[in-house]
Symmetry: C2
Subunit: 345 residues, 2 copies
């Protein structure tokens, strides 16, 4: 099957790029030193490839991701790196533990999340520490006290996590490293108060400048995106939205049949895989179209777009098609079509 | 069932607001004078309400929307207001016509789209005219020639369509009206060359200043969004993303469990339903969280967010929950949970 046989818009993943990115990461972060973040790709088939490469412990942002991985036999060591207070959901995770289907660790950062975890029958937790990005995580000075409270509630505290999200996308390496060092010094301090074997954190942007974490929570590196491509990373972009030119005003513009519902605009517009020697550009995206200016197009042309942000782009799709060459447009050979089976809530 | 029993993030639709918005629109554009655009809500249950109110002809952006509406018994008069050259997809539409399941009209704006429509067994078309927004639609001076070509190919030409998308979101009414008048003068000229009974176009933003179209292609008015709310429209916002505060740093910020994968960032950040008397604001959205600054929050609080753009927000969800009061947070009563069954491609 060729990509040209797919209904467009269709999301293509380059098999060679995926393999190369995984090999690069695995060499630096072998086995459990990498805890791939499933939120980036939300696809058990891709997760299975990572597990086969030795990275069998996964990071999850949602309960659905965790349940889906467990149901696919990928429950060896699942970390819900997010706070959850939904007791029914936590009870389902507790049941997975009881059934031996999955090892489950959940992040806690408050008395409420400790109570919810214990109430749901979850047995293992990790203390989530605010290391500088305003989102989740406790005040670092409270980490030790929360660990004590968790232990008092009968929970095993495996260690700490802290995500330096405010460092991931800093283009200047020196500044990125400095921000990472500062954030990780906070995490190291909290770890001293908490104890446990695990220090979890980091991501694609800080993959080689975070020397503190025992496990890196990276996900985007697998197929990358336009935003991360601005950094000096060795990972290549392997994700392409294949579209069809459905309307052409010669000398003016062309409309492609994939728009912002098939991409994600939080990190900007997509880029053309082939910009016709620098003359064609993306003008704007609307719900179901992308308008390109410049270049020479014909109705029916297959046109590839490189998404600016991998996570929300993939979660807009039902399928991720593994192909031999994502830049080959309609000529690419489709090896497999993977369900994006971990999206939603 | 209360909204507080839903897994968050959950998308709520206010039943009263929906009814009021529909009543306002129906009074001005009764029956077939409104052709609701399914791309805005991608939900057959909501479409059925519009059909019950007399608006039984729908506008579609994708083949899937059209097939889904037809399968739900809503195939009375379906317009694919988009160019499609996928002959297999068009053949499925042709089969719907042959089976008497749906009346199908597709937009054409080129020799290629005429050939594809005729090849797929579609019988009725409409000439899509570029009225000033660079996306789909033919050069207005070619509209008559394309109509002739379509008729020569055995197709019935029902008329013209032209979407003045570049006028929809103009806040200043005078400018919005002027832009609409200009665009519709182009469409009227093309209609004179094309013939047919149908002049289709317009949207929520130009609902009362487009006096040319015989049928208005509006969809967003049903539940509105933050972007359209900036205009002087009588429609109210009825869409709320219900989230849970999962992490709170007192005096600093709180993290809600719905982020840019549950919203859409193309029209900016969401707004808080309750901004705590003006002191709380959305700081930023990340993949699975929204960080709010100011205000006083507790872990477990249900917090409502108003999306900036309805179309891509709804298409991020499996379900749209109809509630008695979307501003009531967890206390809202859930009347029905509607599958968002027309999303994807």
């Amino acid at each position: 099957m060729r990509a040209g046989d797919l209904t467009t818009p269709a999301l293509l993943a380059d098999a060679g790029v995926l393999d190369a990115n995984m090999a690069t990461m695995s060499a630096a972060r072998p086995g459990p030193a990498l805890r791939p973040h499933a939120k980036a790709f939300k696809c058990t088939a891709l997760a299975a490839r990572l597990a086969a490469a030795g990275h069998a412990g996964f990071c999850c942002a949602t309960v659905r991701e965790l349940e889906g991985l467990a149901a696919s036999g990928l429950g060896e060591d699942l970390l819900l790196a997010n706070e959850v207070v939904d007791r029914r959901a936590l009870a389902r995770l507790g049941a997975l533990v009881d059934a031996g289907t999955a090892r489950v660790t959940v992040a806690i950062d408050s008395a409420e999340t400790i109570a919810a975890a214990a109430g749901g029958g979850v047995r293992e937790v990790i203390v989530d520490v605010d290391v500088g990005m305003p989102r989740c995580g406790c005040d670092p000075s409270n980490a030790g006290r929360l660990a004590d409270e968790a232990r008092a509630a009968g929970l095993v505290v495996r260690g700490v996590m802290g995500y330096e999200g405010h460092a991931q996308h800093v283009v200047d390496r020196t500044k990125r490293e400095a921000r990472t060092v500062q954030a990780m010094s906070v995490l190291v301090g909290a770890h001293a108060d908490v104890g446990g074997d695990v220090v979890s954190g980091g991501g694609t942007g800080t993959w080689d400048c975070n020397h503190v974490v025992t496990e890196l929570q990276a996900g985007s590196f697998v197929l990358m995106d336009g935003d991360y491509a601005r950094l000096d990373l060795p990972f290549k972009e392997g994700l392409v939205l294949l579209t069809t030119a459905v309307s052409v005003r010669s000398g003016r513009h062309a409309a492609l049949d994939g728009g912002l519902k098939a991409l994600a605009m939080d990190s900007g517009d997509p880029r053309l895989v082939d910009d016709c020697g620098g003359v064609a550009t993306v003008q704007f995206c609307s719900d179901e179209h992308t308008t390109v200016a410049g270049g020479s197009w014909s109705v029916g042309d297959r046109v590839g777009l490189r998404p600016a942000h991998i996570d929300p782009t993939i979660s807009n799709h039902e399928l991720l098609h593994l192909v031999d060459d994502a830049e080959a447009g309609g000529d690419a050979e489709v090896f497999e079509s993977w369900p994006v089976d971990l999206r939603g809530w």
